[in-house]
Symmetry: C2
Amino acid sequence: MQTIDIEQQILAKNDSLADQNRDWLARHRITAINLMSSPGSGKTTLLERTIREAGAERRICVIEGDQETLFDAERIRATGAPVLQVNTGAGCHLDADMLRRGVQALDPPDGSLLFVENVGNLVCPALFDLGESGKVVVISVTEGDEKPLKYPHMFAAADLIVINKLDLLPYVDFDINRCEKDAQSLNSGVQVLPLSAKTGAGMAAWYSWLQSPSRR
Amino acid sequence: MQTIDIEQQILAKNDSLADQNRDWLARHRITAINLMSSPGSGKTTLLERTIREAGAERRICVIEGDQETLFDAERIRATGAPVLQVNTGAGCHLDADMLRRGVQALDPPDGSLLFVENVGNLVCPALFDLGESGKVVVISVTEGDEKPLKYPHMFAAADLIVINKLDLLPYVDFDINRCEKDAQSLNSGVQVLPLSAKTGAGMAAWYSWLQSPSRR
């Protein structure tokens, strides 16, 4: 079917560019983390705290993906970290070519930690390899514990799953054990880290994971 | 550019099928409401309460869209309303052909109110006309008040914007006035209804809108 052939061509071209990104990042000892989630799960807040608390240890740079606005880049810039905003317009995800061009423009220093905050979307970004060192899926407790089974492609692609907004757990119905068990049924052995980027609870395990975020 | 041509062909074919849906729905006096949002904004909870509180007045049927699982259809079935689940697999939105086939299978009675709960995604569903009577975008207060400007296509396409999870407002930073003002800057005069599908606050205005949900 024509549509599928074209999709496969687009993905094959993306995968080839992703491999080039992976080689380039490895040569420059840059660890690139692709952060993916629904809109509003708290990815930017997680980055703000991470830069404040761990940015002295290792240089952190950020590429922000959004359909429109510079809001997230402005929040990151306020922390002092180098940041570049990529606007996708009608597009629903970042791709390997956007990362390539973003890295060229941002020029992250050798040995740095590069966060790539994808467009808020629990569907499309799962399909596109960027050449990253690790894929992190963030889900917040306000979104519902059944999301892994409803959006299985994203949770199957994850190297790490962060459950954010633990501070709101008392006010919502969200079973952390169910979410973790369902995610692991799609992605055997995947690590699941509950935390609150707002209060700081659980952040130690996140920093520990970032020290060796190898792909699964 | 080839990719754009193909996208235009897909959208043109979709729009033609959407027009056929619109004609069919009008002939059968069925009001079809397309509910769109991020994952976990509370669309299904809104439908559960709407069926319980307004289902005696007018027959309500539901088509549920999700990548995988029958979870949402099971929740609606428990209310007693006729429901059909459409699973999109890797797909990120419903389209007019899925609605056509869904309506054929569900066979909603003449004069009924048909809710179509789209795949949780604040990007892709905005592009696809289903032939619906009205597009409702749901945003919850946990997602952040800057979402209209970051995802402008969705908010520009809306006939009504529901701000859900008012019960969680005391625990998050969300400025309802900012959200409303930004949405109206993209979509002049669009009505914005804050409510809580969990507690029932604000539902009266929702039922009032449903009585004449004409497209903007």
